[in-house]
């Protein structure tokens, strides 16, 4: 991640200039042909609080990240399940079997998918060392492209570009259940020793997890789709719950950027606690402005 610290502000300035130029030209053009009936306000004042909340929270997160980069050691609580990552990889290596990594159905801009790709790159660094085959059937074409790059880089960083096999990261199909059918078939035939299910999952979660369980694989799951969590908890050995999935890549990589951001998220929770606690106390005394405020803002 070289040069990152300095290029960020430069990038922001460059980007801002470009976007402001585009916006300015466009606004100008549209102002000339605007009719009287249209809403030509530049800013919807009803949304000012959301805007301010976004700014406040962004500033907190960014501050925490820069603070973390200054080199101070940051604490992160134990995430049960992540200790098992090494165990899972070790077992696969011992048994001479493969590891299957499933990123779910999310697209590339999906937060869970990105978190999962970060975890995958950590896993890939380890499998590169042990020369354990890492199979990644993909459901989204763009995700497949990014993952190929990431895993290749991970193998390169470990000095094992020779162990990287692009055929192991492949597109299966975009259809939800055809994907489940294909992955199930691969699981029962290849019998991977460990199965990672990390990312965005829908109804196929239990189809995959039960099949993985039936072949006796160690399964480490994680998703931010709260309605699929019960099935992972029932059928997998370890499950990362909701936000734990986002925290996992920070936990594994110990990267200051991710750790700092996690700290920022914790401050965000405090910012949520504040209005809730104050609002409840005010309500109990019959003062309703906090509740009315949140009702208006939406």
């Amino acid at each position: 991640m070289k040069g990152q610290r300095f290029s960020c502000p430069v990038l922001v300035v460059q980007g801002l200039v470009i976007s402001l130029l585009v916006l300015g030209c466009g606004l100008n053009a549209f102002a000339q042909e605007a009719t009287t009936t249209e809403d030509t306000r530049l800013f919807d004042t009803a949304k000012i609080w959301i805007f301010l909340a976004v700014i406040l929270y962004s500033a907190t997160v960014v501050y925490c990240i820069y603070h973390a980069r200054s080199g101070k050691e940051l604490f992160i609580r134990r995430i049960p399940g992540l200790e098992a990552v090494d165990e899972a990889i070790g077992r696969a290596t011992e048994m001479g079997r493969s590891i299957m990594y499933i990123l779910g159905l999310g697209g590339v801009s999906n937060v869970a998918t990105i978190a999962s790709m970060n975890i995958l790159s950590q896993v890939a660094q380890k499998t590169a060392d042990y020369e354990t085959p890492l199979r990644v059937p993909c459901n989204d074409p763009i995700v497949m492209n990014v993952v190929q790059e990431m895993v290749k880089t991970a193998y390169l960083n470990e000095g094992r570009p020779d162990a990287y096999n692009e055929e192991n990261i492949f597109f299966l199909t975009e259809s939800q259940f055809a994907y489940a059918a294909g992955v199930d078939g691969m699981m029962v035939r290849e019998k991977p020793a460990a199965v990672f299910l990390q990312g965005t999952f829908f109804a196929e979660s239990l189809i995959l997890a039960e099949t993985g369980n039936s072949i006796g694989a160690i399964q480490i799951a994680g998703t931010d789709k709260e309605h699929q969590l019960p099935f992972f908890i029932a059928a997998c050995d370890y499950t990362l719950i909701g936000e734990e999935l986002y925290a996992a890549s920070a936990y594994l990589s110990r990267e200051p950027m991710l750790l700092g951001s996690l700290k920022g998220q914790d401050y965000g929770k405090v910012m949520i606690f504040g209005p809730i606690v104050i609002g409840v106390i005010l309500e109990l005394f019959g003062i309703t402005w906090m509740t009315t405020f949140f009702q208006r803002v939406r």
């Binding site: 994907y179 019960p230 099935f231 996690l262 949520i272």
Partner: protein
């Protein structure tokens, strides 16, 4: 044609169910066919509902109506075309352009919408019942429920504190959070059984009624 269709559908259904016994040639047959069909279907759908209306039609309109603004669509087409750079190893990095745009758009859309629809909304939802308490609209049992809800939200959220050690007060509260999480997961699991069984009922209905005419 319909009769053949029902037979094909029924046999494919049985092929997939055979997986419950174990992997076998019938399942492998259906599995591979299914993957192929679904990819083909995806291609057709993307062509007719993505490419034609969003790329081809605007361009065609721009040319026929001589509204040259429409040619703006050539930009995304060009950017999309950069995906093919993957085929040229030395130029592979060019696919970062379209990916960066897609990720940027996704992230930009997410920020205000998540802030509004999830955070503000959920905080309001947590506060709203307390207004009802003060107004005297709730009975004692309902008040108990509201207080429990507050405890649940705060303790669950506490469980997701990562930068503090879960000891002492934080540890205690996050333990309560786990209790709520487990009850929540259990109830969601139980609630899903119905939906899943409905799917099976529908398949059984298809096999017994539409195919075998037993019911």
């Amino acid at each position: 044609m319909e009769l053949i269709g029902i037979w094909v559908a029924a046999l494919l259904t049985l092929c997939i169910y055979s997986f419950l016994y174990r992997d076998n040639p019938f399942y492998r047959f259906a599995e591979h066919l299914f993957v192929g069909l679904s990819v083909g279907y995806g291609i057709v759908l993307t062509f007719h509902q993505g490419f034609i209306p969003f790329a081809w039609n605007p361009l065609q309109e721009a040319v026929t109506k001589q509204e040259w603004v429409g040619l703006v669509r050539l930009i995304p087409i060009g950017i999309g075309g950069l995906f093919f750079a993957r085929l040229v190893p030395s130029q592979g990095w060019l696919i970062r352009y379209p990916i960066a745009i897609l990720i940027g758009v996704g992230s930009g859309l997410a920020i205000p919408n998540v802030m509004r629809a999830d955070i503000f909304e959920q905080v309001h939802g947590t506060l709203a019942p307390f207004a009802q308490i003060h107004a005297g609209e709730l009975g004692p049992f309902q008040i108990f429920g509201v207080v429990l809800m507050l405890i649940g939200v705060i303790s669950t959220l506490t469980y997701f504190f990562f930068s503090v050690e879960h000891r002492g007060v934080v540890g205690g509260v996050s333990k309560i959070g786990i209790v709520f999480l487990m009850i929540g997961f259990g109830s969601a699991f139980g609630n899903t059984v119905m939906g899943r069984v409905s799917l099976l009922i529908q398949r059984v209905d298809f096999l017994l009624h539409d195919w075998l005419h037993l019911i």
